[in-house]
Symmetry: C2
Subunit: 352 residues, 2 copies
């Protein structure tokens, strides 16, 4: 690995929740590590600019509050407020409000609404009600958290991921087929732990959704674009489904590199396998690479990192037209994650 | 005091917050004490029906939540959830959300929004947003708390008490007079501790407010109406300002009895003196009696209880046309308060 590769100055990352956030922490550690030797240090103006385009398909209105789980996970993780143990929500969290809501018998009870977290949702909900766009509200919330990135929602418009499943009540149609219903992604993910076989992920409102202000511009101005090991279907896939975002990526001058969220036949974390199966994509590093597709063939990827243990898939991925390396991909520490980020970046810088 | 006075079967009480709630606890203790000897006990159907008409002029939208301080104080006090120490809010309360909101730098910071309490406000706010009336929402919240009364807001319409004060910033008009501003009652009461001299209490929306469903009917059906020792201006006075309520009281067949919230020259609790002064009413038991007025002369009161130490005012109050007695009025215990309620009721039963 060449030691003198220039680090990118304008990076765009697409991100879901926990996996994306942990990767971003490593990415920032790499990008912000040590000033470059060949030019005078210029404090902030010299720091690489990282724009994170966050998934808002998981957003949910719950108890009248607008909750943006993925944006908040990025904000809290990079801002130092995340619960390291859970990976979501606030450290030192309490759940008094949730318990009281249950005492009132109001549904749903399965969503983990913490007291500290609720303050974020109150500020957001009230700001939205006052007419501010989600991107503006997110910027305002980040003034407190200082995540070190520019965090943009994929869209200011409501576009909520739902999941098509057989009605868990066992209801059937007139012809005896299982009745199919759509439930909110969060209900499927949290209440059912993704255990109900999914038949699809319709995103309510996606056709009318526009990229949030700055999203397309950031992609066009990037000198590197990165797809963290987030869920390729309901995190990255949802962002890509916003009309205009995939097109902007395909048209970008920057190389696009991704990291496999699948090691062996299982997701590093979360339940991406259930999502991939639903859309007919093999749960493997090469399966996901093929799903994203090679840049040179109309897809997204210039490069793709797979786990060392999946080294036998590297050849097949290169044959798809995607630069590929196998390296350790477990985000076991910020330093290990920073090394992953460096390898990913250098893979496509070397190959362009 | 005759031991065999029939206890009233249909009681209506007007109520503000802390003082009203504590009185109601005593009233219920008296009304529900021991089944009547002269008829078979019939569980609930035999229990006296108490309808409480609660002040909603203190209501405030705060951080996007609809807060009804007086309704909640009644509900929590009679439902066993009140903080006995503070007199408002929930027992074993925490203030995590409030602290976090302050971290975001959002205003206002002076309102005591507890975590347990927030669950109530979330349920209320979401139910209002779903189109339910405040009276319906209040009934739903009371399903949990079982306060033992029918709790009705004075109105389902928004009617918010404001306070006219000289601008605390010291701003002046073009002619050098202090600039006069209106601030929300809660801000005046809590942030300024009623220390800014009030020039009036305009109730925004009161002209268009209608009595909540059941209010006028309960007054008409009552066999006793009681004015607890609540603030005569911004609690009872606000309820009376809802078009139709005062008229219903004047027209009611039931006697109306009140208890003085003033002992000597000071309110039993709260800052009623500041409110009385603003509207030109002397801060005394007889001053408030005169303000309410005698039923026989177009006012409200058939009877009025004053504190033993104000016995020298009894004669003057009787001369107003209001039955009056001086008895201990400190609500030092539920039993003492029950005795106050009994005396008040018997005062007007004897005198009708």
């Amino acid at each position: 690995m060449p030691m003198d590769s220039p680090r990118p100055r304008n990076v765009v990352a697409l991100a879901g929740g926990i996996g994306g956030s942990r990767f971003l922490r490593g990415l920032l550690a790499y990008l912000n590590d040590e000033p470059h030797q060949d030019r005078p240090q210029q404090a902030d103006s010299d720091a690489p600019a990282v724009t994170v385009i966050g998934n808002t398909g998981d957003d949910i209105w719950i108890h009248g509050l607008r909750v943006c789980p993925d944006l908040d996970t990025v904000m809290y993780t990079l801002g130092g407020g995340i619960s390291e143990e859970r990976g979501w929500g606030r450290e030192a969290e309490t759940f008094t409000v949730k318990e009281e809501l249950a005492e009132y018998g109001v549904e749903p009870t399965w969503f983990g609404l913490g007291d500290r977290d609720i303050a974020t949702h109150l500020v957001r909900t009230q700001s939205l009600a006052a007419g501010f766009a989600l991107s503006e509200v997110t910027a305002a919330l980040c003034e407190r958290w200082q995540p070190g990135v520019r965090l943009l929602p994929m869209s200011d418009d409501r576009a909520e991921t739902h999941v098509l499943v057989d009605d868990p009540s066992g209801a059937t149609t007139a012809t005896g087929e299982p009745a199919r219903i759509a439930m909110h992604f969060q209900q499927w993910w949290i209440q059912y732990r993704a255990s109900l076989p999914a038949h699809g992920f319709p995103i309510v409102g996606i056709d009318q959704a526009k990229p949030a202000p700055g999203v397309v511009e950031a992609i066009a101005a990037a000198d590197l674009i990165i797809l963290p090991p987030s869920n390729p279907v309901v995190s990255i896939g949802t962002i890509l489904a916003v009309p205009g975002i995939r097109e902007a990526l395909v048209a970008a001058s920057a190389p696009i590199v991704g990291l496999s969220p699948i090691i062996g036949q299982a997701p590093v974390r979360g339940m991406a396998d259930a999502c991939l199966t639903a859309i007919g994509v093999p749960t493997s590093a090469s399966g996901v690479a093929g799903h994203y597709g090679a840049r040179s063939r109309g897809g997204l990827l210039d490069g793709w990192l797979v786990e060392s243990s999946d080294a036998d898939q590297v050849e097949a991925i290169i044959e798809l037209g995607i630069a590929c390396r196998a390296v350790p991909l477990l985000m076991s520490s910020v330093a290990a994650t920073a090394a992953m980020a460096q390898t990913a970046i250098e893979l496509v810088q070397t190959n362009r």
